[in-house]
Symmetry: C2
Subunit: 449 residues, 2 copies
């Protein structure tokens, strides 16, 4: 057992939110002693996990975050689990029995996959997507030996697993209870395009239905749907969603938001001004409504880490709330979104004006590799401010271009400003300047105000 | 000879600026009669011209702008050349002897390549890059029959020709009088990376030298440099730059800017309130200084077309000045810039703070196709406003991502705002959220203020 030690800033959790918080704090306060404590010997790049399936040949070690990123900057790294926080003495106690004192504490404890209470959920070869290298070794170790895989949940984790598995030898299907995959992220026509791409890759899509029972003796054999259909399955992957990991915070008496995350203010502080929370464990608030939104992404965690880290010893940055910039791939196409969908905006009571445009993503369109890129921009009617955008297109374009849309939303640009946005174009990289989806979508909206 | 005709809006010139101006005007004023008159039977996609060399197999017809884009929207198209403008009677006279009356006129007469007074410039197989299909047919027709091509001028046209020719069978070299290719567009280290990529493709690079004489009997045989070096050349392509085509405007008595373009106000109107000018023929003014800048790009022309078109019958849009968003490719890499380079900013008297960052453009970096993407952000010291950005990276990422930088510049975002920009990321499309070049470059700058 170590002697009691003290650090200036202690970060609990070493994935995107925790690592970025520590790095940001170190760059602002280089003289302070910083320590990251995490339970995992290795941290996986969280977004990369689905792509271990085929693209990374099942090799978990290809998806590991480098510890040198932290230690190279003089941040101490401890592999141990924090069991409790004593806010009065400003110290934590670990599984190994050590005590670590802190001046400031950042909670980045992440989330756990939701495991639905389906009968048969404990049968062998039924996996959730835990960010745990040992557990995932089993998951990816099982893929090469099976022919039929069922993914339960058609959100982004489910879609990404199915997409990458389909590039390998196994057959894969998605079971989704909503009318389409990805409905939380995109409008229906974009969801339909995701499904079209998945189907072209041979992915089976079962929407409007739920998994009622998982059947199997030694190992899983079938998934029975609520419509009675029986899907052959030698392996099941659950991609239902995640819930914030808040036990430590709750036991330390910190306020928990009604939506289940740790309550934080706009500086990313919990109720205890010496304790911050970032990432999946913390509540995120909408850029638009300032209400909690159930969106948990590594990009949001990193953003919150950049705020909490900068604020650790002196308040310097404010969270304006989460816009929700998101991208994924299915087949040859990238799909990306920033802000609200039409459906999401209407649910929040917005009156909206929508502009759509499609254009080839190379010019002339005779160039090899040309795909159609579609852009949708969603504006609030009275202010004409941009509140959402959706893009799909070939290759990586959508994932990059959505960041221009996110910037426009963050700066509250209006419908009449965007058509004269000075877009940079190039034959081999983008749409034509004369036929630009982004500007035309705004122009389309302008004509509807 | 036709009878005299009258149109509501006459646009002279049918390339990017003219076509977009007409289309924009039609969408704002659908009841108005609109006419585009141009001298070229076919209009080439201007930015695509270099890529006809190899990527489009020398086939000019693969790089043609569709006339249906105009006529499909009810815009009349006339192939004829305007010889003079009578501002008093508000009409133009054409080469065929027709008179066309207008209520409003938009000049989009473009530019002509600069042909330097080098001895031997008239020898056969010495070409400039005229946007003229018949002329270019000769140029591209000559490429397959030669082995040695010299490109004079290492700006973007020269680099793009050399890049695309190098993908074919001929050997190609660039002669550039400045210390590096692309120096007007990028800082030196970015220029060096362009040259590195070109050299890897086998392009010969002769910088710090000029072409003194072109030698040949029936056809060009050599280019002699000012350092005495003699480059074998069966073909020469001049990529020196362009000069605005302003004869019509000058003869009509319109004011010409001291930098050689047609003077326009912020609504894109010339001195005559019924006549607008857009694109290469019009003067562009800097977003930063409001002074004329010699930047002529199809993206700028299109932007100006969107302003002039909207303003044709009622002022609706204002030009904030040209940011200058630009991208190109060399080898596997895209290179992109928005706003000012370090050098450009210093020449304008700016005190600057610069942030740099590099990161893999996929995450984890073990994913196939991963390249390093480099981002430079340039801030004005006292206001901390972003005034420039440069990016290079594999594939099309740089060309798309630069539009987020352009949006940030247009919204005058500051160094402390950008690290908390909510960047969307995806393993197969972008950098990692925890190691994001764009945000890290801003963070790097923040640490230097």
């Amino acid at each position: 057992m170590m002697d009691n030690v003290k650090t200036d800033l202690l970060v609990i959790g070493g994935s995107a939110g925790g690592a970025v918080a520590a790095l940001t704090a170190k760059s602002f306060y280089p003289e302070k002693k910083m320590t990251v404590i995490r339970k995992e010997p290795k941290v996986l790049v969280p977004c990369g996990i689905p792509y271990i399936s085929t693209t990374l040949n099942g090799e978990i070690d290809k998806d590991v975050m480098s510890d040198a990123m932290l230690t190279g900057k003089g941040i101490e790294l401890i592999i141990d689990e924090v069991r409790s926080i004593d806010r009065e003495s400003k110290s934590v106690t670990t599984s190994k029995g050590d005590q670590i004192g802190y001046e400031k504490l950042i909670l980045a404890t992440g989330s756990e996959p939701i495991v639905p209470p389906i009968p048969g959920i404990d049968i062998k070869n039924v996996f959730s997507v835990k960010k745990d290298a040992e557990y995932l070794k089993e998951l990816f170790g099982a893929i090469p030996s099976v022919k039929e895989i069922v993914v339960i949940g058609g959100g982004f984790i489910g879609v990404e697993f199915a997409d990458d598995i389909s590039k390998g030898d196994a057959n894969v299907s998605i079971v989704e209870m909503l009318p389409h995959c990805m409905m939380a992220a995109f409008d229906e026509d974009f969801c339909a395009k995701v499904e079209e791409e998945l189907k072209e890759e041979g992915v089976g899509i079962y929407t409007n239905c739920t998994a009622e029972t998982i059947i199997g003796d030694e190992k899983v054999e079938y998934v029975v749907l609520n419509n009675g259909e029986k899907l052959k399955a030698e392996m099941v992957i659950l991609g239902i969603g995640v819930k914030p990991e808040i036990d430590l915070a709750r036991e330390a008496g910190l306020k928990i938001s009604e939506k289940g995350g740790i309550w934080v203010d706009k500086y990313m502080r919990t109720e205890d001004k010496n304790i911050f929370a970032v990432g999946d464990c913390a509540e995120s608030y909408s850029f638009f409504t300032k209400n909690p939104i159930p969106l948990r992404l590594a990009s949001i965690a990193s953003n919150e880490g950049r705020i909490a880290g900068a604020n650790a010893f002196k308040l310097k940055r404010v969270s304006e709330g989460t816009i929700g910039t998101f991208s994924t791939m299915a087949g040859d196409y990238g799909f990306a979104k920033a802000g609200l969908t039409q459906k999401g905006a209407k649910e929040l009571g917005y009156e909206i004006v929508v502009g759509d445009a499609e254009a080839p993503d190379r010019h002339p369109a005779t160039l090899p590799g040309t795909h159609i890129m579609k852009v949708r921009l969603i504006f609030e009617r009275t202010t004409a401010q941009l509140i959402g955008g959706e893009i799909y297109g070939g290759g990586s374009g959508a994932g990059c271009m959505i960041n221009a849309v996110a910037t426009m939303i963050q700066n509250r640009m209006t419908a009449n400003e965007i058509p004269t946005f000075q877009m940079g174009t190039h034959p081999l990289m983008t749409c034509s300047p004369a036929n630009c989806h982004m500007l035309s979508a705004a122009e389309d909206a302008v004509s509807k105000f």
